[in-house]
């Protein structure tokens, strides 16, 4: 049976997952995902110094230390590129290394001088110990996470502008600087909250993976936030549940592993952006192109009064179409097979003519105009009117006609 204590911890890590998912989505869209890793590592010296100064192991004292040192890290990351020639990505990597190194050095000093128990407490910060959290810790953590999540949701309209087009935001009266600061502060806060549960090393994973997985499922900002929060929540809950049943498994890695499994699943099976869907789409496209080539070959033959071709002429020779495409063309009712001979059916010859005509129009368009919107070009598209304005298609058709009659 699940104890009430475990329930509180589960609720806490679920709230934490929501918060990580939301804040992570913002960072993903701002292309600052790596910052979460830097800030997580930057907390370590703060925790050590807080412990050295106060001698206390209370969550709040260590948490405040972690927050201050994460904020200092964030300030350094944003100031370095502004006042020197260091780029932002190098600045992020530098700060991560420097502060984490300092933290490790400090914790080594603590370990050598202080009592063993305290040192062990600091050690658990590296990998987290969600299942071993105190009830009060979990409640504090969950409460803070919910407040920050609410803040993101309430401000999502402003945050959308600041992520998508900060310059526009600025000239439509947004306090861009304050919003940037808010988002950095939210990230620092999130990282500190995640510390006791997931640990320094893996916090970034919990912040980055849920939104990255969510991005496969949606093309809208609001639903990205929703899905990312959901994935974060489920990962937090699942990881904690598994790890509380198996004390030998530290919670941090298990939480991150459950997030990773969602990511992998999304990567594979998401309907539009997933790998499998993409692969299927591209092979369907390839198959269609093959079918078109077969139909075209048969059309050319029939225009030279050859009403059928042998299968060999299609599969081998200059056409060398794939047998699968040939089968597809027969199933689709474009071609009929009589013994070894292949013949176009009316549907097939109509299709072949249309494809040829659209090819001609594309060619005409590409050679006729100087300023062409390249993104409109899709040479496989037979319904050319879908992409080009109708008047343009008509005028292209006319100019093709004109040239044909003059030659």
């Amino acid at each position: 049976m699940i104890s009430p204590n475990t329930l509180v911890i589960l609720a806490g890590t679920t709230a934490l997952g929501i918060c990580c998912g939301l804040v992570g989505a913002l960072m993903l869209l701002r292309r600052r995902a790596l910052l979460s890793d830097a800030l997580a590592h930057a907390t370590l010296p703060g925790v050590c110094i807080a412990f050295l100064l106060s001698g206390s192991r209370s969550t709040i004292v260590l948490g405040v230390g972690a927050l201050i040192s994460a904020l200092i890290g964030a300030a350094l990351v944003s100031w370095l590129p502004r006042f020197s020639r260091v780029r932002r990505d190098s600045a992020t990597a530098c700060i991560l290394g420097i502060l984490f190194g300092a933290g490790i050095a400090l914790s080594a000093i603590i370990q050598r001088s202080g009592p063993g128990a305290a040192a062990a407490g600091l050690d658990s910060l590296l990998l987290g110990r969600a299942a071993g959290m105190l009830r009060s810790e979990a409640m504090l953590l969950g409460g803070c996470a919910l407040v920050m999540s609410l803040l993101v949701l309430v401000l999502r309209k402003e945050l959308l502008v600041s992520c998508f087009d900060p310059l526009f935001g600025r000239c439509s009266g947004q306090p861009t600087g304050a919003l940037d600061l808010l988002q950095t502060a939210l990230l620092a806060g999130t990282v500190v909250l995640a510390l006791p549960a997931v640990g320094v090393v893996l916090t970034a994973a919990l912040v980055v993976i849920p939104p990255a997985a969510a991005r496969f499922w949606t093309d809208r900002f609001d639903s990205l936030l929703r899905i990312s929060a959901l994935l974060g929540a489920v990962s937090g809950m699942l990881g904690t549940a598994i790890s509380s049943g198996h004390p030998e498994l530290p919670a941090g890695p298990v939480i991150v592993l459950s997030a990773t499994s969602f990511f992998t699943l999304s990567l594979l099976i998401a309907p539009k952006r997933g790998l499998i869907a993409r692969k299927l789409r591209s092979s369907a496209r390839k198959q269609q192109r093959e079918v078109r080539r077969i139909l075209h070959a048969l059309l050319l033959a029939s225009e030279q009064d050859l009403h059928s071709l042998s299968t060999d002429q299609i599969v081998a020779g200059s056409v060398s179409a794939s047998p699968r495409a040939l089968k597809q063309a027969i199933i689709d009712g474009f071609i009929e097979r009589q013994g070894d001979r292949l013949q176009l059916k009316p549907l097939g010859s109509e299709r072949a003519r249309r494809a040829r005509k659209s090819q001609e129009i594309w060619r005409e368009w590409l050679t006729s105009e100087a300023a062409i919107d390249r993104d409109l070009i899709d040479l496989d598209e037979e319904d050319i009117e879908k992409l080009l304005p109708l008047e343009l298609v008509r005028s292209l058709e006319n100019s093709i006609e004109l040239r044909k009659t003059t030659t």
């Binding site: 869209l29 292309r31 309430v154 401000l155 309209k157 402003e158 959308l160 502008v161 992520c163 998508f164 087009d165 310059l167 526009f168 600025r170 000239c171 439509s172 009266g173 991005r215 949606t218 093309d219 809208r220 900002f221 990205l224 105009e369 300023a371 062409i372 919107d373 390249r374 993104d375 409109l376 304005p389 343009l392």
Partner: protein, 261 residues
């Protein structure tokens, strides 16, 4: 006397001690369609940013509708360069246009039906209403530009700034933008835009501002867009000179609206 929309006095802007704009003094009257023209690196975008207030000048001051820009609450309709945003961003066309309504909506409030309808109307104005549910990355370059124009329209401002809206767009988009400009002009709004194509200046704009680090000339197109001024703007660069000569010849022969079309 027409009131000034934008008044710039003694403006100098520098990046890392290197001046980008030098001692600019110019007045752009209200209701004008003004093209900023000049070679690459002439400071055209910087001038726009200064009017927007996103760049602090090294010296000088700007006024928008007679208000110093630091105090001005004036809403400026803004069309950035297309490359300035990530087009893979998860938003749909309508979401982007709605951003134009956020300022008037205020903090925390969510856009409702009124904002939705208004945004659709703005999309209609650029001929993009039927694509309102598309993810912005699925649009062609010209269509993306039109989304930005629609967003600026949704801001419903008195002053519009556009950074090269005609750059690399197809014929349909060019037409759509021209119609929008004509409508804005008719409504008495002021539009300032960076423009590259010297051939179309005298067809589209009634005011030009020739810029190359310093202000070369500014005023009504007929008087300002002259061979002499263009030579001073572009220096001795030959290819551009030909283009300029051609454009000037067309002004002389065709008058204000003529051109070859």
């Amino acid at each position: 006397m027409i009131k000034p929309a934008v008044e710039i006095h003694d403006l100098t802007v520098a990046y890392r001690e290197k001046p980008v704009l030098w001692d600019i003094d110019v007045v752009i009257p209200e209701g004008s369609l003004c093209a900023i023209v000049g070679p690459n690196g002439a400071g055209k975008t910087t001038l726009l940013s200064s009017i927007l207030g996103t760049i602090k000048p090294a010296s000088g001051w700007l006024k928008i509708f007679d208000q110093p820009i630091e105090e001005s609450e004036e809403l400026i309709g803004f069309v950035p360069q297309r490359e300035s945003v990530d087009w893979d961003f998860p938003v749909e066309v309508l979401d982007v246009v709605m951003m134009g309504t956020y300022r008037r909506l205020g903090w925390f409030r969510r856009p409702g039906k009124a904002q939705h309808d208004w945004a659709m109307e703005c999309l209609e104005a650029v001929g993009m209403a039927d694509l309102h549910r598309r993810q912005i990355g699925e649009l062609s370059g010209g269509q993306q530009q039109r989304v930005f124009i629609a967003r600026a329209l949704a801001q419903d401002a008195r002053l519009f700034l556009m950074d090269e809206p005609f750059a690399g767009v197809d014929a349909a988009t060019e037409d759509a933008i021209r119609h929008v400009l004509e409508d804005l002009k008719r409504q008495g709004r002021t539009v300032i835009l960076v423009h590259h194509d010297l051939q179309t200046i005298e067809q589209f704009f009634d005011h030009v501002l020739l810029l190359n680090l310093r202000l070369i000339a500014s005023g009504p197109t007929m008087e300002t867009f002259t061979r002499k001024n263009l030579l001073r703007t572009y220096g001795g660069r030959l290819t551009l000179l030909d283009e300029a000569a051609e454009a000037v010849r067309r002004i002389r022969t065709g008058g204000g609206g003529g051109g070859g079309s």
